[in-house]
């Protein structure tokens, strides 16, 4: 009898120990991201539901500041061996990450884990942006593009049809004059001026840099100070002189003016849609970016960020990270992310599901970004997005050139030439370092 009790006790102890060990065997992974404000809430909710449905994984998502701060932290952490398993990097950091030697390209991950994955599930323009030689290197996550927002009320007041926003820049000028004369203080502005400048190239199928926009090899020369670029900047400068265009700051600052009814038209990221609609007391209209007549069709370009998987993880951690990436690819999660933030859902299946449930008929503004990007070209390098090593600095150089031209300090040609000279120097330095 005593022996039985002893054996029973030992068995119970053994079971409880193994159970304890099994519970403590949660794979812990960390994810650093730059999603602030309301986007942070959506991130938290997705991470919570992931952890709840994957009891053997514990994912900790940390907000590590702006995109630039997150990347800087990641670099410092990687160099000291304390990097997170997954990191969100902005689109302008793509070349830096590709050349870093610090990441595992995502297309290799299923193979490493003995799984397969259909890369065709992702929306093509987004997939193209983050691909190299046809293979996806980082996981699409928060992609947006730019579009035209306009204030339907102010349009009506100026005698314009609220359902006919301007299609060309000529119309922007025409309508702009009418809006200005009807008392609108500032007619047009945009956020992220460097990005909008690049958008103009992509939407008209014009190359921004050599070597196929830096996609077939490291770019060594920018092309934005050519005829097309000059024409774009001259148009904007002219509009500024006519009191139609007002420079709205480097990032999202023009949104406040638009929401408070001070701006009639705004070129801004599609991810601002939910925030703009919520904060505006008037009907908001959206449409494609205005075009320059006489130039070929292109496509609007992807902005935002993507997720990169750090090198040097254990197989368990990598498996856990891959589970999370697959989770993000689920239709319902993709939809949750889109509805909560306004970023594109990355999966084609999500587009169908949104259509089926009547999401686009509820608020047509959410359809604009999709139609713009899905109706454009996808085959040329000019529409796939620019890839430059020192892209962050070059975007600032673009911004400075736009500011100087628009404020009248320099002529558009001089400003662009100066910017091109600086950019080319940076590109050559980068190429030298990354031979």
């Amino acid at each position: 009898m005593k022996k039985l009790i002893l054996v029973g006790l030992i068995l119970t102890l053994a079971v409880s120990l193994t159970a304890g060990v099994a519970m403590a065997d949660k794979v812990k992974i960390t994810w650093w991201h730059a999603m602030s404000g309301s986007r942070l809430d959506v991130v938290k909710s997705i991470v919570e539901s992931f952890n709840a449905t994957h009891p053997n994984i514990e994912l900790t998502a940390m907000f590590t500041g702006s995109y630039a701060e997150t990347l800087t932290k990641f670099i410092a952490a990687y160099r000291t061996g304390t990097a997170p398993n997954l990191v969100q990097v902005y689109e302008v950091g793509t070349e830096t990450m590709l050349d870093s030697g610090a990441i595992i390209p995502v297309y290799q991950i299923p193979g490493m884990l003995g799984e397969t994955w259909d890369w065709g599930k992702y929306i093509i323009p987004i997939r193209n942006y983050y691909s190299k030689d046809g293979n996806l290197w980082s996981m699409p996550f928060n992609s947006s593009t730019a579009m035209l927002y306009y204030n339907k009320e102010l349009f009506e007041k100026a005698g314009l049809d609220p359902n006919k926003p301007p299609t060309t820049w000529k119309e922007v000028e025409e309508y702009g004059k009418k809006l200005r004369d009807s008392g609108v203080q500032n007619v047009l502005s945009f956020g992220w001026p460097g990005w909008i400048f690049e958008q103009m190239f992509a939407t008209h199928n014009q190359l921004f840099a050599n070597n196929d926009n830096g996609r077939s090899g490291l770019a060594t020369e920018v092309l934005f100070n050519g005829d097309f670029g000059q024409m774009v900047l001259e148009t904007w400068t002219k509009l500024a002189k006519e009191g139609i265009f007002i420079y709205g700051g480097p990032e999202y600052s023009a949104n406040t003016a638009f929401k408070s009814g001070q701006l009639a038209m705004l070129l801004q990221s599609t991810s601002s849609l939910a925030g703009i609609e919520k904060g505006s007391q008037f009907p908001v209209g959206t449409s494609f970016l205005p075009r320059f007549e006489g130039y070929p069709m292109g496509n609007s370009v992807i902005g935002g960020g993507s997720l990169w998987v750090t090198k040097g993880q254990s197989k368990e951690e990598l498996r856990a990270v891959w589970e999370f990436l697959k989770y993000l690819g689920q239709t319902d999660i993709a939809i949750q992310w889109h509805k909560g933030t306004g970023y594109f859902p990355t999966m084609n299946s999500a587009v169908k599901a949104l259509l089926d449930e009547g999401w686009f008929s509820k608020d047509q503004n959410f359809l604009t970004a999709f139609l713009q990007i899905l109706s454009g070209r996808r085959d040329t390098a000019a529409v796939r997005g620019v890839r430059l090593g020192p892209f962050v600095e070059i975007r600032e150089i673009e911004r400075a050139a736009i500011e100087k031209a628009v404020s009248g300090v320099m002529t558009p040609k001089a400003a662009l030439d100066e910017a091109a000279q600086k950019a080319n120097q940076l590109l050559q330095d980068y190429a030298q370092l990354h031979k």
Binding site: T96, S100, Q262
Partner: protein
């Protein structure tokens, strides 16, 4: 001699200062040397490859019109903060030194700006001057019948606003020291001056101001350090160095190159340049001003 102060313990003094010295070496001297070393290289963002480039980083900086402009911007900015800041705070401190009703309240109200974080101070001024929704452009618009004060396109205005914000923020600190200095002016001297028939203005310039010279020297130095080194946060919040690099002071340019452009070589070179400049300015200032300052009665 150390042996006299610690009889029997020859090495004790050195041991006692060892922790401080170790900290200074580890956290100041070593990084400083590494930084100077790094300024002679160019490296990838992840540090995977470095190429020795000699003085290229320095040569590029001095050849770059943007950097030269940044030096000028910093000089203008620093001059504004120092000259306007010290004059205004001295005037305010002088007024605060009078026996008026509510003096306590005024003192607190004028000094609290120093306690604000740069982020808050920057946001306040940015909102005040926001072109579409700020109160100052609104007032200017009303007064001038339609002129839009847009600091995002007007570089000089942006520099002015940023200088004003930086000065405003430092007012509290300057006022506290000036007030203390004023209160240390011996009453007998002022009395004697009054008896001799000297008016307020003369008394101020001939007696009060010279007696304040130690404080002024000190504040000159602190404000110089502040305006060149410590105004990063304000600029980052308000203008990010724009528009068109109009407010791109040296330390902000350094930040951008180091942490946003990930160009550690150039940033290290810039930090060394600033170090040299500040050292020279400090030495000059301490020599000249100390000689002129009246420390004893």
């Amino acid at each position: 001699m150390p042996e006299d102060r610690f009889p029997g313990h020859r090495f004790l003094p050195y041991l006692l200062i060892l922790p401080s010295v170790a900290v200074i070496i580890t956290f100041l001297i070593v990084p400083f040397i590494q930084s100077v070393q790094e300024s002679f290289y160019t490296s990838t963002a992840f540090g995977t490859k470095t190429i020795f480039v000699g003085f290229r980083n320095y040569a590029r900086l001095f050849a770059s019109p943007d950097y030269r402009q940044s030096i000028i911007t910093t000089l203008i900015f620093a001059s504004f903060v120092i000259v306007v800041g010290l004059s205004v705070s001295l005037a305010i401190a002088y007024l605060l030194n009078q026996k008026i009703k509510g003096r306590g309240f005024y003192q607190v109200a004028l000094i609290w700006t120093y306690a604000l974080s740069p982020a808050v101070a920057g946001t306040i001024w940015a909102l005040m001057f926001a072109p579409a929704t700020g109160i100052v452009p609104y007032i200017v618009n009303r007064l001038t019948g339609g002129y839009v004060l847009n600091w995002m396109t007007n570089g000089q205005l942006a520099l002015f606003v940023v200088s004003a914000a930086a000065t405003w923020k430092m007012l509290g600190y300057n006022i506290v020291f000036f007030l203390a200095g004023l209160q240390n002016v011996p009453g007998e001297l002022l009395e004697a001056a009054r008896v001799d028939g000297a008016g307020g203005w003369r008394t101020f310039w001939k007696i009060t101001f010279p007696m304040l010279s130690p404080t002024t020297t000190f504040l000159l130095f602190v404000n110089m350090l502040y305006s060149v080194f410590q105004v990063f946060g304000l600029i980052d919040i308000m203008t990010r160095g724009g528009p068109g690099n109009a407010t791109n002071i040296l330390v902000y340019n350094l930040y951008r190159d180091a942490f946003i452009h990930l160009d550690s070589g150039s940033a290290s070179a810039q930090s060394f340049i600033i170090f040299i400049v500040i050292s020279i300015a400090a030495v000059v200032q301490l020599r000249v001003a100390t000689r002129k300052a009246v420390y004893a009665r």
